[in-house]
């Protein structure tokens, strides 16, 4: 960039161009949607299968995968943050949104016994909030549609027994996390955006 005397018009144009450069469209966060999508899908289908077709004492065993998911998410998120050359406010908001929702989900599941293990509808609602808001922040419609699907499924889940709630959760996660996650990944591979 050469140093020269600026006219007011040039000043304004320069400001606009630099602000435009800094405004990032969105990051490729597909890794997190795919990681959590598969964890929840395996755990919920496993839960349904074990509690419906077997006498296994711990049908919820698959949910222990969430501990691994939390550790992997934390490590990958921190590493990406450290590696990135620029810290955007949207990335920060995004990280805090999902961290807060994760804490809320953990609190609901941890105290599940107190609400008769009727946890799935609440998890669906929280996942819907995260998905819809992330979709709006990124301007990425598949996630916004996912958010809507979570909300509708929560309505249905409130009226179903725990077993079927697991299947509803599996369906919700497939539409709300996995489908948008794979679309996002393909978009980044194709266009880098």
């Amino acid at each position: 960039m050469e140093e020269k005397e600026l006219t007011p018009h040039e000043s304004m144009a320069l400001i606009q161009s630099m602000i435009g450069k800094a405004r990032k469209r969105y990051s490729d966060n597909s890794f997190f949607f795919l990681l959590w999508g598969w964890i929840v899908l395996v755990a919920s289908v496993g839960h349904y299968y074990l509690s419906t077709f077997t006498d296994f004492e711990y049908p919820f065993i698959g949910w222990s995968l969430t501990i691994i998911g939390a550790i992997v998410s934390g490590v990958v998120g921190a590493r990406r943050g450290k590696k990135s050359q620029v810290k955007n406010y949207t990335d920060k908001m995004y990280a805090w949104l999902w961290f807060s929702l994760g804490m809320a989900m953990f609190t609901i599941v941890f105290n599940g016994q107190l609400i008769g293990w009727n946890t799935v509808p609440f998890i669906l609602l929280l996942a819907g909030v995260g998905t819809a808001v992330s979709g709006a922040m990124m301007g990425f419609r598949p996630l916004q549609i996912g958010g809507l699907v979570f909300w509708i499924l929560a309505f249905i889940a409130f009226r179903q027994p725990e077993n079927y709630q697991m299947l509803i959760l599996a369906g919700g996660i497939a539409i709300g996390y996995l489908v948008p996650g794979y679309i996002m990944k393909a978009n980044f591979r194709k266009h880098g955006v």
Partner: protein, 95 residues
């Protein structure tokens, strides 16, 4: 208002570019600023020092492994100065 009354620290192509970039993000490192402003390392270093001395930006130098990493962040004083500059420019551009 005379055009020469504009904040001389901001009324310079590279420094204004740096400030416009930093006002949009939380922090940005030296390499990113250099790439986005298409400047040379030497010139950018000098201009960043000027902005830092004026208290418009904060520069943090640390090591990531063995590689030095310089991170810049706009200060409140910098935000205020930038706002004033933009208002003055807008005033000047008014028909």
């Amino acid at each position: 208002m005379g055009f020469n009354q504009l904040d001389p620290l901001l009324h310079s192509q590279l420094r204004l570019a740096v400030m416009s970039l930093l006002i949009s993000v939380e922090t940005a490192d030296f390499v990113y600023i250099k790439e986005q402003t298409e400047s040379t390392a030497g010139n950018l270093s000098v201009q960043l020092d000027k902005l830092s001395t004026a208290g418009y930006i904060e520069i943090t130098k640390q090591f990531e492994g063995k590689k030095p990493k310089t991170t810049c962040k706009i200060t409140q004083k910098g935000v205020d100065a930038f706002d004033t500059y933009v208002k003055e420019i807008q005033q000047y551009l008014k028909p």
